[in-house]
Every structure is written in C-alpha cells, then in structure tokens.
C-alpha cells in the first residue's frame, strides 16, 4: 500500500503523542494530583489514529470514556487536554468536563462520553447533519465491545441503515467491558450484527497501524460515497485497567507483559516503515524527542495553570436563560 510520507510521519507522531500522554497520566495520576477518574488508551493508539487519518475537521467523531486517544487523533491539542484533566480554567472545556468529556466541536470532536453507548445515537444525528447539509463529511462512532451490547448502539445501527446516513461504527474490541470479558458478555459476533442491520463489515488488527489505516479507508469511503453506514471491527487490547487504580485481577498475570512485548503498535510501525525504507530510524527518533518535550511542557503548564473561578460554576448551563 502506498501511503504519503507526511501521513506516515503525522500518524506516527499522533500515536507517539497518545502513548506518551497516557503513560505520563499513569504516573501523574498515582501522585494524587489529578481529580476524578482517567481511563487510558495505551495499546490502542493505532485504532484512533488509523481511522482519523482519513478524516478532516469537517468530519465528526464521537468517543467514549476512554477518549484521550480519539481527541489527540482528531487534532485536539495536548496542552488544553492536560489542563482539562487537571481541572484547570485553561482546559479545553475550561475545567468543566474533565477526562470523560473532552470535546472540541470546531474540530469535529463531539466529545468523549461518560455513558457507555452514548455516542452511537449522536453519530446518527451528526451523519444526518452531514447528509442534509451536503458537506461531504462522514460521522464516526468509536465504541467498545462493552457498548456494542447497549440497546442505544444496536438501535443506532438500525437507524443509520434505515436513514442511509454516512456513519461508520468503529468497534474497538479490547476484550473487556470493565472487568468482564467480551467472550462472556458479547453473544454472537460483531460481523453478524453488521449483517443483521444490512451494513458492510470490515475488520482489522488494531496493533497494526497499516491494517487499521487500509481497512478504515474502505469503510469510510463506503459511507462517504453515500452508500450508507459501515461497521469497522478493530481487534486490540488495552494495557492498563478499566480505569487507573484497577488492579486487573480479572486478567492473567502475564497478559499485559506479553502485549507490551509482542503487540506494540509503535514498535510494529517502526519495524515496517524502516524495513521498507519509507522512513529512517532517525526520523522517528526526532519525533519521539519532540513529543517527549511537548508532554513535559503540557504537564508543567497544567500544574501551574489557574483554577476555575467561583463565577464559572454558573456559566454555560444555557446559551441564554
């Protein structure tokens, strides 16, 4: 497959940014300085980035409670995100949303979402907007294997097909809905669910950027051309618990160690592009260094940033009231 050099470097940078952002949050959360909950996307980077590589700011995505990766992949800046997660006034949502509600509608990012299965109905509507306004854009719902069992998700698969709107349903199947395995909680399979709602099904290896990129391209093209919705099933794994602080007693002792050693999408990417002579190791090293500095700066800035003011409590409940 031919992929332009700038897409390769941009995608690697985006994956590296997500990885470092999340690994750093893992460390910082343990200090107790970050309020609330965080759900980390480590190990899943190739999915968000491989899908969003096909999208522009006009396209819309809806994310999940594990949303940092989708935000970064859609172009939300790490400074605003880090400040938000620290509950600061300079946060992308002014400290009013936190980790589970990071959104930037100007970038087509309709929000991380604290409700499992919250996003797919919204994406039916965003896709309807794109179809009605004839802007050529698509709407993409990211959701997990857990959310794939929500009635709202199943209803959305039906509605999107009935309305024939440009929606793509991306099932990020990391094998766990919280602490319960998908092998227990998902009856049948995603492929048959897509078929049941009359939409094409694509699947890919979420540890391999190129697998995601290529397959997502087909699914998104199907929707963008006006052929109705598609489902993209991404097989991947999360490296941390459901949320930070989860001791993961439901996982085998060596499960995550094996994932890190054998299924690291960043290592896979480097091996492939350097092996094929598309990029040099030094190109990627340069990105690694730049990202490291960027995350460090974001943390330092977030820690120093001003807190919300008392008057912010009552702001933005309504446009007018």
């Amino acid at each position: 497959m031919q992929i332009a050099r700038d897409i390769l470097t941009r995608s690697y940078r985006s994956m590296r940014t997500i990885r470092d952002f999340e690994e750093r949050l893992h460390v910082e959360f343990a200090t107790g300085d970050i309020p609330g909950f965080v759900h980390l996307y480590c190990g899943e980077e190739a999915s968000g980035v491989g899908v969003c590589a096909h999208l522009t700011d006009t396209d819309t995505i809806a994310s999940t409670h594990r949303g940092h990766g989708h935000c970064i992949a859609k172009g939300v800046g790490v400074d605003g995100m880090m400040a938000e997660i620290y509950g600061r006034r300079s946060g992308v949502c002014r400290g009013k949303g936190g980790s589970m509600h990071i959104a930037d509608l100007s970038l087509g990012m309709l929000g991380a979402n604290g409700i499992v299965g919250g996003g797919p109905p919204l994406i039916c509507g965003a896709a309807l907007s794109h179809k009605t306004l004839k802007d050529g854009a698509v709407a993409v719902a990211f959701y997990g294997d857990g959310a794939s069992n929500e009635g709202s998700t199943l209803e959305s698969l039906n509605l999107a097909s009935v309305w024939k709107v440009p929606a793509v349903f991306v099932v990020e199947d990391n094998g766990y809905g919280e602490a319960t395995g998908a092998s227990y909680a998902v009856a049948g399979n995603q492929k048959d669910r897509a078929a049941g709602f009359g939409m094409p099904y694509f699947e890919c290896d979420g540890n391999d950027f190129f697998s995601v990129y290529e397959t997502a391209g087909e699914a998104i093209e199907h929707a963008r051309k006006g052929n109705g919705p598609a489902m993209l099933h991404v097989h991947l794994a999360r490296w941390y618990g459901h949320f930070e602080g989860d001791a993961m007693t439901y996982r085998a002792a060596d499960e995550v160690a094996k994932l890190r050693a054998e299924h690291d999408c960043l290592v896979n990417f480097r091996r492939k592009v350097v092996g094929a002579g598309l990029l040099e190791d030094s190109d990627l090293d340069t990105i690694d260094t730049a990202v490291k500095d960027e995350i460090e700066a974001a943390v330092v800035a977030a820690r120093k940033a001003p807190l919300p003011e008392d008057a912010d409590l009552m702001k933005d409940v309504y446009v007018s009231y």
Binding site: T60, A62, G91, V92, C93, R94, G95, K96, G97, H101, A103, D104, L105, S106, L110, G111, N113, G114, I115, G118, P120, P121, L122, I123, C124, G125, A126, L128, S129, H130, T132, L133, A139, G151, S152, E155, S156, N158, L159, V162, W163, K315, D316, V317, Y318, V319, S320, Y321
Partner: protein, 342 residues
C-alpha cells in the same frame, strides 16, 4: 387572526419555521406515517394525532423523517444533529416514552454546553404529549414536566392554549438550548383566535390570565383553563383571583409569582403532575422562602394523588385536578384566618 385549534396552531408554527429556516427538520415515529405501507401514502398519519399532517408534502422526505420505533437512537440523533448544525424538532409521541431515551436527553443534550466549557450549542426541540383524560392509562398519561424541569440545561414549556402554543413553539425552535415542549393531548381540539403570521412568546415570562385581590392561583398547562373557570365561579361569590400561567417551568418566572403572592397573601397551585417533587412543591418552596411574611394562609396544592394514572373513567376523573377541586382549595385559603394568640 383566525380561529385555530391547538393542533393547527402547532402545525402552523412548525410549517412557518420550516419555511423560514432550511435547517429546521422534523423527526419521529409516524410524523409522516405510512412509509413502507402498502397504500403508497407516505404521510398517511401525519403524526399519531395528526399534528404534523401535510408537512411531508410541503417539505419532503429529507426534512420530515419518519423513524423506527427506536427512541434512544432518534432522540440521540436529534441531539447529535443539533450539535452539528441542524435545528431538529423531534417528536417523542407520548412523554411517557422518555423512559426509553432519558440518557440522550439528560446526560447528552442537556449537558453538552456545560461539560464542553460553553463550546456547544444544541438547538433541539423535543415535542411530546402529556396528560390524563383519554383513558390511556398509566404508561400514556403522565405529566412529566417536573422530571425535565429538574435537569439543568433543559428548558421546559407547557402551553395552555392554541395562541400560547404557536408563539411558544416558534420561540422554542429559535432558541439555542434544548427545549422540551409538552402538549396536553386533551387540548388538541381546543380553539381560539390565533394570528396567522409567526410570532414568539418569550420564555420565563408568566402570563396573568386573571387579576384579582384575594387569592393567587398558579396553574400549569391545561390546568390554567380549569383555574380560569374556577376563578369565574368564585368571582360571583366575591372572591377575586389572580391566575398565573408561568408558560415555562424552566425558566420559571419567580418574580411574577412572588409579586402576586405579596399582593394577595394567599396561594393555590394547580399541577397535573404527581404530587411529590412536582411544580406545586417547587413553587410552594419558593414562596415559603421568599414571601413568608406576605402569607395570610397556608399554601394549598391541587394535584393528583401519588398513584399511577388509572384507566377506568371514574378513577381517571377522580385522579385529575378539576374546577371543583380548585374552587374548594381557593375557598379554603380565602376563608382561612390566622388564630389570635391567647
């Protein structure tokens, strides 16, 4: 000015706003009604009670969207469409069906703006029928406006007449926040003079339908009519009432309620919703806190009992507040005298 029914007033508001703004779309179960049927008539129903009849013909299938019976998906879709450039009016048919899609209203549409730091606009209207009186029983008769009023981020409208319905619905469609617009299903054939041209009635500004000196009656939706009838009867016995139609429960025109109670010193609240944590308790709390010194009698609330809405006609009639119950409550507060301390 033409005599129009409540149903026609709503239909006209929708039509005029759809003519004005191409981003206004309708969606809901059977809002056209007939897609996929064997008669080939695509707007066979025009809404389950005919409120949206004719709009498909005028505006086409791209703007009048029938949905599957699938409230979670299409109410969520309406929220998503509103956040991304359209101005959807979604019909939830019976407000009781909110049980199937409350997440999309309560956790999504209502909270976008706040959670996203003021960066979202969600110009969404959800229309639904409410109210008892049709023998529709417990799952098709509730008056759930307090449930929505409880949720910050939502605006809630309960129109009391055809004139009110048209002006408030146009206001709702032009509003940039999510609005729940509740139509009492018993009122669809009520008629009054309604201007032909579009007009708006602002939210949060109560309407005084009667002005009097003795007792203030605050009533919501259909209950405004009952309150007016009760006031007419009481007038003959020398008890003069102010009747307040707040029009919207969120925002609530607290200032007008307090002003009137300060003048009359006596308050009756008429609310068709279940009595616990409803608008009657909300207004009573407001007055107890802000106008305690003005009160010359205990506040009386006229509400249904704390039961599901019954089916049988005799029980349903017993359930819903009526003119007689309002009249009795007003007489009791009018006659009340504070006991002199011994």
């Amino acid at each position: 000015m033409t005599k129009k029914s409540f149903r026609q007033a709503i239909n006209e508001a929708l039509r005029q706003e759809m003519q004005r703004d191409p981003r206004v779309i309708l969606m809901g179960e059977d809002v056209a009604g007939g897609r996929g049927g064997t008669s080939g008539v695509k707007d066979a129903w025009g809404g389950v009670l005919g409120v949206t009849k004719g709009l498909l013909t005028e505006f086409g299938e791209d703007r009048v969207l029938d949905t599957p019976i699938s409230e979670a998906s299409y109410i969520g879709a309406a929220a998503g469409a509103a956040a991304t450039g359209l101005r959807p009016v979604a019909e939830l048919m019976f407000v009781d069906f909110v049980g199937c899609c409350l997440d999309q209203i309560m956790n999504q549409a209502a909270k976008f703006r706040y959670m996203f730091g003021g960066k979202a606009r969600t110009p969404l209207v959800i229309r639904a029928m409410y109210g008892a009186g049709f023998n529709a029983a417990a799952q098709h008769s509730q008056a759930l406006y307090p449930l929505f009023t409880h949720i910050p981020g939502l605006k809630v409208v309960v129109p009391s007449s055809p004139y009110e319905a048209k002006g408030l619905l146009i206001e709702a469609i032009r509003d940039d926040d999510p609005v729940i617009f509740l139509e009492n299903k018993v009122m669809y054939d009520d008629e009054e003079d309604v201007p032909d041209d579009p007009y708006t009635i602002p939210f949060g500004e109560a309407n005084l339908t009667r002005e009097g000196d003795d007792v203030t009656i605050v009533a919501f939706g259909r209950m405004v009519n009952f309150a007016n009838q009760a006031a007419d009867r009481l007038e003959k016995d020398g008890i003069s009432c102010t009747v307040i139609d707040p029009r919207t429960t969120s925002p609530l025109d607290a200032a007008t309620i307090l002003d009137c109670v300060n003048e009359t010193g006596r308050l009756v609240i008429v609310d068709e919703s279940s009595p616990r944590c409803n608008m009657a308790t909300d207004v009573a709390a407001l007055v107890a806190e802000e106008a305690f010194d003005a009160l010359k009698a205990p506040i009386r609330r006229v509400t249904p009992p704390h039961t599901p809405v019954p089916f049988a006609t005799v029980l349903e009639k017993l359930y819903v507040p009526d003119v007689e119950k309002i009249e009795a409550a007003v007489r009791s507060v009018a006659a009340y005298r504070v006991k002199e301390e011994a």
